[in-house]
């Protein structure tokens, strides 16, 4: 399969560790992920809540540049925007015509888009990943947190079961760790309100951290830069606001995969995490 990688803006900044660990895992699995040339922002929540045409046109501009290759995405928000634009453009000739006028290209809405979790599960396969493991993460109890945008709306993303997705759990199991059942897999963290309405984020992310803690996990695994930022960078604020103590590391699933595949802590940029995973990893003898 021929892929082209769409990193998105977060992976260029606050989620640099997601970027580095995604490429590190790809390289261990001999996956070629060249970056989409001159990609632009997908428009994110700002576009779909203020300008519906722009919200379709920005993803379409990127997707039409992929020239038939499968667009691999790591950010759950970009994934959602690209898939939504595809669905609207391919499903409605009037929208397709308007978008064509804006981007100057009659894009048909059919460039395939895959999240890196889907790519690993479906194209690479869990058995190949399990075979490549050189440091099984035995004993590590993980809450796999999917958030909103991978599985919802299911008619558009077609990702997995919308209420109880398991793609990440299965990968985490394949690398020797223990995914736990917990009830907040797909609850919302407050997402894009991280800056514009922080009180929403503190409250929603507190509920997620509290459920994960109650499930007795060593860490949370995420697949979205906004989820990771809200649960990790704001964890101290949340603890202060709600008089709680969590101290729960929140890693990208690619960082856990990378550890199991033999990448170093530096290659996975583990130092970028605000809540350090070091005590947990050293207890289990898993230091990078």
């Amino acid at each position: 399969m021929n892929y082209v990688f769409f990193p998105g803006c977060s992976l260029d900044g606050t989620a640099k560790d997601f970027y580095l660990s995604t490429l590190a895992v790809a390289s261990k699995l001999d996956l070629d992920l060249p970056e989409l040339k001159d990609w632009i922002c997908c428009g994110s929540t700002a576009a779909h809540s203020s300008d519906p045409l722009l919200a379709d046109a920005l993803p379409a501009q990127n997707l039409s540049n992929a020239k038939g290759k499968t667009v691999a995405v790591a950010c759950a928000a970009c994934y959602s925007r690209l898939k939504t634009a595809n669905s609207r453009i391919s499903g409605d000739p009037a929208i397709r015509a308007k978008v064509a006028q804006v981007i100057g290209n009659n894009y048909d809405g059919h460039t395939p888009v895959m999240h890196f979790l889907e790519l690993l599960s479906r194209d690479v396969g869990r058995s190949r990943i399990a075979k490549a493991v050189c440091r099984p993460l035995s004993g590590l109890r993980v809450a796999c947190y999917y958030g909103c945008l991978l599985s919802r709306p299911p008619e558009i993303t077609g990702f997995d079961d919308a209420e109880n997705p398991t793609l990440m759990d299965q990968l985490i199991e394949a690398i020797g760790a223990t995914p736990v059942d917990w009830p907040h897999k797909t609850e919302c963290c407050g997402a894009s309100f991280s800056i514009s309405d922080t009180s929403i984020v503190l409250r929603l992310s507190n509920e997620i951290l509290s459920m994960a803690k109650a499930a007795g996990v060593d860490c949370i695994a995420t697949a979205c830069p906004l989820c990771q930022l809200n649960l990790d960078m704001r964890q101290k604020d949340i603890e202060a606001e709600y008089s709680k103590s969590y101290n729960l590391p929140v890693l990208y699933f690619t960082q856990l995969l990378g550890l199991a595949l033999g990448c170093s802590a530096a290659e996975l940029s583990l130092r970028s995490l605000m809540v350090t995973p070091e005590p947990v990893l050293s207890r289990l003898g898993l230091q990078g």
């Binding site: 803006c9 977060s10 260029d12 900044g13 606050t14 989620a15 640099k16 001159d38 990609w39 632009i40 922002c41 428009g43 994110s44 929540t45 700002a46 576009a47 779909h48 809540s49 203020s50 300008d51 519906p52 045409l53 722009l54 046109a57 920005l58 501009q61 409605d92 929208i95 308007k98 006028q101 804006v102 981007i103 100057g104 909103c148 945008l149 919802r152 709306p153 299911p154 919308a162 797909t186 609850e187 919302c188 407050g190 997402a191 894009s192 309100f193 800056i195 514009s196 309405d197 922080t198 929403i200 409250r203 929603l204 960078m233 940029s269 130092r271 970028s272 995490l273 605000m274």
Partner: protein, 187 residues
């Protein structure tokens, strides 16, 4: 206005119901089961709940809906639309209501979300990509929330989470023209 009066919103000749249907499932199919509200992460703090928004749309009560806090507090998590037994796309209805709220100058005072969205889109127009540090600085200046999250900056820069210089994409002139065409072609 009096809540009992049916007000047909006629800006651009389209009613609330029309902008909410967007060629998909009509909000008139809602029978108030409240499954949307049960799963909504912000319903407990908002002034309206999702099922109430849909009912108000059915009744064309545009003032209540367009000047509500709820439409700006919705996190776009799509739980409502995913669980609706009638497949009403409440999350997208909400997007349409935000656009209308802003266009008709009914945005509830105190929310900074529309300002954030404007700055976000203007950054894409100029640079092609979002540089988070610049966006945060612009937002602080526009909203005078100068000290919010200031304590986190040194650690985030140290942890390489906030590069001081962002990457640019060229073709600014083409992008500005594209944004202009999008504005003219509004859906």
């Amino acid at each position: 206005m009096m809540a009992a009066v049916l007000e047909i919103d006629d800006i651009n000749g389209r009613s609330l119901q029309q902008i909410s249907a967007q060629g998909k499932v009509s909000p008139m199919l809602c029978y108030q089961c409240q499954k949307c509200t049960s799963g909504c992460p912000v319903a407990s703090r908002a002034d309206l709940k999702p099922h109430q928004v849909v009912r108000l749309v059915q009744m064309e009560q545009s003032d209540e809906v367009l000047s509500s806090r709820f439409i700006w507090e919705c996190t776009s998590c799509h739980t409502c639309a995913t669980r609706c037994p009638q497949k009403i796309d409440i999350a997208s209805i909400n997007d349409a209501l935000r656009v209308r709220s802003k266009a008709s100058a009914k945005v509830v005072p105190g929310t900074a979300v529309p300002t954030f969205n404007d700055l976000f889109l203007s950054a894409i127009r100029k640079r092609g990509r979002i540089h988070e540090l610049s966006l945060m600085a612009a937002f602080k200046l526009h909203t005078m929330r100068l000290l919010a999250d200031f304590d986190k900056l040194p650690m985030m820069i140290f942890k390489r989470k906030l590069p001081l210089i962002g990457s640019h994409v060229g073709q600014r002139r083409e992008r500005e023209a594209m944004f202009l065409r999008a504005r003219r072609g509004e859906m």
